[in-house]
């Protein structure tokens, strides 16, 4: 659509911002990415997401859409003629929504506990994380993508976490590749897509970010 103005308010490290970027890139939509400083929230940000004050926010011709999976669905519906992310079949669509919701409910919190806790709690988080990855690997099966032959909604929901794996693995002392080789194969396949590689952060920068965040929060 000519004359569309699309802005993504996000942060470099947020896997949720990355979802919006991957989706827009998949659709070939030009957009402006604004890096938000969450310690010093901009007036625009507070105006666009007064309810949650969280990133990402997609601003399309001045109208804000919040919550990353809602943003991805919105992008898919507005620019529906290119690279559809959700399947057209209602049942397949429901399955995609279920698994994206599963990623939302499980991965972030568990991943966080790996680097934010220690001792038994950390060990438990690591085990849980591996369990979650194994469940996802099971759902992937032999398909190239969660979407089947084509990169889709669940792939968008999960792939941004891949750049956080290095940090999780370092703090949790494990290797996802050893535990879930097929899942890592899937991630590397996704990274071959420019839409993804352009959007994901450098895993080493994520690791450094977590190190400094731990210091700030006073976590050993």
């Amino acid at each position: 659509m000519a004359g569309d103005k699309v802005v993504v308010l996000g942060t470099y490290v947020s896997m949720f911002s990355m979802r919006a970027q991957v989706a827009l890139n998949e659709k070939g939509i030009e957009y402006e990415k604004k890096e938000e400083d969450l310690a010093n929230k901009s007036p625009l940000f507070l105006e666009m997401n007064p309810v949650h004050k969280k990133i990402p926010v997609l601003i399309h011709n001045g109208k804000p859409v919040c919550e990353s999976l809602i943003i991805v669905q919105y992008i898919d519906e507005v620019w529906h003629d290119k690279n559809p992310l959700l399947p057209s079949d209602p049942y397949q669509r429901a399955q995609a929504r279920f698994w994206a919701d599963f990623v939302d409910k499980k991965v972030y919190d568990c991943g966080r506990r790996i680097w934010a806790t220690k001792g038994e709690e950390k060990e438990a988080a690591k085990k849980e994380f591996i369990g979650i990855m194994k469940t996802l690997e099971g759902e992937l099966g032999n398909k190239p993508y969660f979407g089947g032959e084509d990169f889709g909604y669940v792939d968008v929901a999960l792939i941004p976490f891949y750049c956080w794996f290095h940090a999780y693995e370092n703090f949790g002392n494990f290797k996802t590749e050893t535990e879930c080789p097929k899942l890592v194969e899937w991630a590397k396949r996704c990274m071959q897509r420019e839409s993804v590689s352009k959007s994901l952060a450098d895993p080493h920068k994520i690791y450094e970010f977590v190190v400094s965040l731990k210091k700030k929060l006073g976590i050993e």
Partner: protein
């Protein structure tokens, strides 16, 4: 097209009620399977191996789980009497507010419900703030969806029933007509809607269930 639609639910689950209402609004015939969550049936565990929860909709043998996902599936599959708006922006707003209802509003009301007396004031502030946000969304509208009941009304439907039950148990008024004129009207309109009103679980049973649940939480939580 002979279709087989089954709904796994419990007698009290507010999430399951969303699907009961949706199927009624669409005029879909279905079979109800009541579950005892302390003794889950093999079928439920087979259809929802990940979460083991209700509701589960099984359509021609294929299961759909998570109530908001099921609502969208019902709307995608049976296209008459649409529940979601057609416009992508309006749709995203409906989804946003449904999530807000589940993530923030319900949690804050629950926190108030299980708070010890000394923590109730603080918990009430959060709950009232969130209710005020929802009140704003109803300005100029009979239902969240507009003139008729839609997705967001079904998503918020639990407010119409549960809030008054909590108010009765706690002997307090959360949603009063003065502070929440729109929400109070909506509750009345929603409760009385023909499709909705016959589906409420028995109130006396609900009062007992929630009272017992509250006592358990209060006993388990160690006051600071």
């Amino acid at each position: 097209m002979a279709e087989e639609v089954k709904l796994f639910r419990t007698w009290s689950s507010r999430y399951s009620l969303r699907i009961v209402w949706a199927l009624k609004l669409k005029g879909i015939e279905y079979e109800t399977i009541f579950e005892d969550l302390t003794n889950k049936s093999p079928s439920l565990l087979q259809y929802n191996p990940i979460h083991g929860k209700v509701p589960v909709l099984v359509h021609d043998g294929k299961p759909v789980c998570e109530s908001l996902v099921i609502l969208e599936y019902v709307d995608d599959t049976w296209k008459h009497n649409p529940l979601l708006p057609q416009d992508p922006y309006e749709k995203s707003m409906a989804r946003f507010w449904a999530n807000f209802g589940d993530d923030k509003l319900m949690k804050s009301i629950w926190q108030l419900f299980i708070a010890h007396e000394k923590d109730q004031d603080v918990a009430a502030v959060a709950a009232l703030e969130n209710l005020k946000i929802v009140e704003e969304q109803l300005k100029g509208k009979k239902f969240f969806h507009g003139e008729t009941i839609g997705y967001l009304d079904l998503a918020f439907g639990w407010i119409a029933n549960l809030v008054s039950i909590i108010e009765e148990i706690m002997s307090l008024k959360l949603v009063d007509g003065e502070r929440f004129p729109h929400l109070s009207s909506w509750i009345q309109n929603f409760m009385d809607a023909p499709v909705i009103r016959d589906c409420w679980p028995p109130r006396d049973k609900m009062i007992i269930k929630y009272q017992v649940g509250r006592e358990k939480h209060l006993a388990a939580a160690t006051p600071k």
